[in-house]
């Protein structure tokens, strides 16, 4: 790349605007490509968008840390967006109240097993403690998962990658199993998506409908709260 262009790139990176522009552009391009490909359930829009964004950063030679510093402004909105989930949760409260028993019976074992299956498999295959700690919160929503990973001694970018794969796989497997077993109850599908697939599963659940979305929000927040309490404790007991 010639001098002028490098200077221009440095100038544009001085404010967060370039990072915000690239993120929005990749997200919208990913969403459009997703529709063009016929909405494949194994490759959600967010995965396409993340790959487009990574390719763009690599091609333009923008350093990831510079990008991250700018796009952090966008991630700040994750806070109010999480609070906003209270609205569908409140609106579906009567239907959630009907199902408090299955929800409460399912949640603790489901959230524990979500972590245990993956950490167990990784441990059997000889993963380093750093990798194990990064995989443990794989089904937990991003802001909570970051706190957990730090506490356990994991690596945040690796954890976020695990989050992406888990979310993508959870949506794909829920789609596959629900078709295979002919399950159409939005409440069940939404809850399963939220517990296993955090934000990515919840976004998918809102495509099924408002009820699925509310149950996913519920599953996601309960899993987050439960894991934040359970994982550090389990880590200490196992002595990792």
């Amino acid at each position: 790349m010639n001098e002028g262009l490098i200077g221009l790139r440095a100038l544009l990176l001085e404010t967060p605007m370039l990072a915000i522009f690239l993120t929005l552009a990749a997200y919208l391009a990913g969403a459009r490509l997703f529709v063009r490909l016929g909405k494949p359930s194994w490759c959600p829009a967010v995965l396409i968008a993340a790959m487009l964004l990574a390719a763009t950063l690599a091609l333009t030679g923008v350093d990831y840390d510079d990008y991250r510093a700018g796009a952090g402004w966008l991630m700040l909105l994750l806070g109010p967006a999480t609070v906003a989930l209270a609205v569908p949760l409140y609106q579906q409260l009567p239907r959630i109240r009907e199902l408090w028993l299955p929800v409460l019976c399912t949640l603790p074992p489901a959230a524990m097993l979500a972590a245990l299956y993956s950490v167990g498999l990784a441990w059997l295959l000889g993963a380093t403690p750093e990798v194990l700690a990064s995989l443990a919160p794989k089904s937990v929503t991003a802001p909570i998962a970051m706190g957990i990973t730090e506490q356990l001694g994991g690596v945040i970018p690796l954890m976020m990658g695990g989050l992406l794969i888990t979310g993508v796989m959870a949506t794909a497997f829920v789609g596959l199993l629900s078709r295979w077993l002919d399950i159409r109850d939005e409440r069940v599908l939404g809850f399963v998506l939220g517990v296993n697939g955090h934000v990515i599963g919840t976004v998918r659940a809102f495509e099924y409908g408002a009820t699925a979305g509310a149950f996913a929000s519920l599953g996601m927040s309960l899993t987050g709260i439960f894991s934040a309490l359970f994982l550090p404790l389990a880590w200490r007991l196992v002595g990792l």
């Binding site: 993120t23 929005l24 967010v46 968008a49 993340a50 990574a54 950063l57 990831y64 991250r68 796009a71 966008l74 909105l77 994750l78 806070g79 967006a81 609070v83 569908p88 409260l93 199902l99 028993l101 299955p102 399912t106 489901a110 097993l113 299956y117 993956s118 498999l121 990784a122 993963a127 380093t128 990798v131 995989l135 794989k138 089904s139 929503t141 706190g147 690596v155 945040i156 970018p157 690796l158 976020m160 695990g162 989050l163 992406l164 794969i165 888990t166 959870a170 497997f173 829920v174 199993l177 077993l181 399950i183 069940v188 399963v192 517990v195 296993n196 809102f206 987050g224 709260i225 934040a228």
Partner: protein, 118 residues
């Protein structure tokens, strides 16, 4: 202006969550505490105002985009974890299949029989 007022409420509840996390030493993120606080507040009021509704909907719609900046980082640490990717893949792909199947099974098992195929 109405959605701006709604956004103000959301940020207010986020800050309230932040304060509660700090005061009570909660291990949960301020967003989740703020969400629970807002749910309780809506329950007390008995309805969702138009303002909060119009601020929430667009934010929920872009949730997936908001985690992208963090998620993309994984493509830049490929070399740092060179020997571990096969393990990570095996742990996450079948691991997630098992956990989805288990949650589905547990949920169906505990569902009330009468309206299980609504």
């Amino acid at each position: 202006m109405s959605s701006l007022y709604g956004f103000l409420c959301l940020v207010g509840f986020l800050l309230l969550g932040e304060a509660l996390v700090w005061l009570l030493h909660l291990p949960v993120s301020s967003g989740v505490v703020g969400m629970l606080a807002l749910t309780l507040w809506l329950m007390a009021k008995g309805r969702v105002s138009q303002e909060i509704q119009s601020a929430s909907q667009p934010l929920i719609a872009i949730l997936a985009m908001l985690i992208m900046p963090g998620v993309v980082g994984v493509f830049f640490i490929v070399e740092a974890f060179a020997g571990q990717w096969l393990i990570v893949g095996v742990a996450l792909v079948p691991g997630t299949l098992f956990s989805v199947a288990t949650t589905l099974w547990l949920m169906l098992r505990f569902m009330p029989k009468a309206d299980s195929d609504e």
